[in-house]
């Protein structure tokens, strides 16, 4: 690619780098952006399903998709923070399911709804802080620490509910409309949360320090970054937003199933992050890619539904999309590394 012979590397004059043409820069941007692959996949899928069935882009279907995509995107955005740190939170899906149970259990004991939600969210913060402290304090790998937390919470829900399905509270009136029932409620909340996480990661010191910690923990600590508290905060943030979107989702659906498996929701979030271009190894994270990844998963599920292909096929195709998108991303990453150096 480069016009400069390799042996001149490093010692060349400054002018060498100014000579890059427009096409080179455009291709750089395209290849360097980890979201490119998944963005193209999303467009292709949307076009395909729109042609196959015009109901796909109908108003009600777009709302359905937004409601399906929102929790995946929110949990995925939270996981991006952790993957950026080279950590993971396997309990996020269970936190998403447990938070509304906190609300229900508290209101059953006479706590007003508003306070029940506040206390529930504080509970999520405590769960996240616990995950973080076990990970950085006891040096238990986050994979194990949060897996344990996942089962603790799942067991708690089964015990506290006596394994009996419950109605969700707060499903009426203006409150319910704003927090989950309104057509665009979940989609807008989800989008808002994802945008906040995006800004946090790309725009703030905290986000930069998260990436730095994931990329070179020792070096970041050497530079004076409080790597331990950065990690704990990320665990807190994912638990908080997963719990919040969980409460909204429960209010929209109206009932709670104590046996629902949280790991599925968590894995959808992680899938969205990974096919969007976030690396599991830390230091490479994209919230935008995760949002597009979540949209792809939502479009796939909904589109297959519409054109009458069974849910079983959806699972197979979801797996294939993850494999293909990852394969392309890794290859593009290698190409980029070659063209620049």
């Amino acid at each position: 690619m480069s016009r400069v012979p390799p042996e001149e590397e490093g010692a060349a004059p400054a002018s060498r780098y100014a000579e890059r043409g427009l096409s080179r820069r455009v291709s750089d941007v395209l290849f360097q952006r980890p979201e490119t692959t998944i963005f193209l996949v999303a467009i292709a899928l949307i076009v395909y399903f729109s042609i196959r069935n015009s109901a796909f882009y109908s108003y009600t279907n777009v709302i359905t998709m937004a409601q399906y995509i929102a929790p995946i995107a929110v949990i995925g955005a939270g996981e991006v923070l952790l993957l950026d740190l080279a950590e993971i939170d396997l309990s996020s899906g269970q936190v998403y399911l447990t938070a509304p149970w906190f609300v229900v259990l508290l209101t059953r004991r006479g706590v007003p709804l508003g306070w029940a939600i506040v206390v529930s969210l504080l509970g999520c913060v405590a769960i996240g802080a616990f995950n973080g402290i076990v990970t950085v304090g006891l040096r238990v790998p986050s994979f194990v620490a949060t897996l344990g937390m996942n089962y603790v919470l799942a067991g708690f829900v089964l015990i506290a509910s006596n394994d009996i399905t419950s109605d969700m509270v707060g499903t009426t009136g203006k409150f319910g409309k704003i927090f989950g029932i309104g057509n665009w409620s979940e989609g807008l909340w989800g989008l808002g949360i994802v945008l906040v996480i995006w800004g946090l990661l790309k725009g703030t010191r905290f986000g930069l320090h998260t990436t730095a910690t994931g990329g070179n923990e020792l070096g970041s600590a050497e530079a004076g970054i409080p790597v331990r508290s950065v990690k704990i905060w990320c665990f807190v943030i994912i638990a908080l937003i997963a719990g919040f979107i969980g409460i909204l989702d429960a209010i929209r659906i109206g009932s709670l199933d104590p046996a629902a498996p949280g790991l599925n929701e968590m894995l959808s979030g992680v899938s969205a992050a990974v096919i969007g271009g976030t690396a599991l190894t830390g230091g490479k994270a994209t919230v935008l890619g995760t949002l597009i990844g979540a949209i792809v998963l939502g479009v796939l599920e909904d589109g297959f539904n519409l054109i009458g292909i069974s849910a079983n096929w959806f699972i197979l195709v979801e797996g294939a999309v993850i494999l293909i998108a990852m394969g392309i991303n890794v290859q593009l990453g290698r190409m980029t590394a070659r063209t620049i150096t």
Binding site: E7, E9, Y17, G203, L208, A212, G214, G215, E222, A337
Partner: protein
């Protein structure tokens, strides 16, 4: 001053003399008598000792680092170079001895402590985050932000300052937006040096700054180190095993043998041959001493 010291003087006599003196008193007196000299020496140590269990690594180190000088530390493996550097950067504490920075005695409890006195250690790969850009690495944990406590990054300002600073010190990277993982070894070392000096480090400790670099890469880093020392007055202590590099880089060389500085000479007044001979002589002395020990 040093012609006779290392090899010719009887080893025992030399050490008794040193031990009898209050450590490094001679240097201190010299410095006090000569105000100019005191101002010119940014860092000096008096009788630094360090032992690890039964192993005595440093037996009273007196070094002086002049402003804007590049001082090379030469010595075989296990001679105590790395321990000395670790003490100077605050990573380890000496058992005894004193350290003076800019004429004031200092007592480092941590790397941060040393850094607050303008002493920065540069490791090639340790310090940088490969997945971040050049400018992000340059400003790591010293970011320029807006909106106060919110910590919103002023990326354009950091880019501009980074470009300007790199141009000032003549460091050439593809772009301040290039990821560090895409840079060559020499460019990374240059970014690490730039970061340390941008943060107003006055004394740099460089542990093998040219390790695993080709000729052109080395030249790039050597030019940068020389420029930083001559034009910006940054003082540096360099450890390296390669004499050719050291003679190119340094103004003065100190040889560490058996936990002591045994040789102190400016590069103009010595040669690679002389240094090599010195090291070999030391090796032979040890071998004969060992044989004598065995006979007894």
């Amino acid at each position: 001053m040093s012609d006779a010291r290392p090899t010719d003087s009887p080893e025992t006599g030399d050490s008794v003399e040193r031990d009898a003196l209050p450590s490094g008193a001679a240097i201190a007196i010299d410095a006090r008598n000569d105000a100019v000299a005191q101002q010119d020496i940014v860092l000096w140590t008096e009788g630094i000792t360090k032992r690890f269990g039964a192993l005595i690594v440093l037996r009273g180190i007196d070094i002086q680092l002049k402003r804007g000088e590049v001082l090379g530390l030469v010595g075989d493996n296990g001679s105590g170079k790395s321990t000395l550097v670790k003490i100077l950067c605050g990573f380890q504490r000496p058992d005894s001895g004193r350290i003076f920075v800019e004429g004031k005695e200092v007592n480092f409890h941590s790397v941060k402590d040393a850094r607050s006195h303008g002493i920065e250690t540069v490791y090639q790969d340790l310090a940088l985050v490969p997945q971040l850009t050049v400018y992000q690495n340059l400003f790591l944990n010293r970011e320029v932000t807006r909106f106060g406590r919110l910590g919103w990054l002023s990326n354009n300002k950091m880019r501009r300052l980074a470009r300007q600073y790199l141009a000032d010190i003549k460091v050439d990277v593809p772009s301040v937006d290039a990821l560090v993982e895409t840079l060559s070894g020499g460019q990374r070392q240059a970014v690490a040096l730039a970061r340390a000096t941008r943060q107003e480090a006055e004394i740099l400790l460089l542990d093998e700054p040219l390790a695993a670099m080709g000729a052109k890469e080395s030249a790039l880093v050597i030019d940068l180190i020389k420029d930083l020392s001559h034009n910006r007055g940054v003082s540096m202590i360099v450890i390296d095993h390669n004499y050719t590099h050291l003679f190119e880089l340094c103004d003065r060389l100190n040889v560490l043998q058996d936990g002591r500085i045994t040789y102190d000479q400016s590069v103009q007044e010595t040669s690679i041959e002389e240094l090599t001979e010195l090291m070999v002589a030391e090796y032979r002395r040890r071998v004969t001493a060992g044989q004598r020990e065995l006979k007894r």
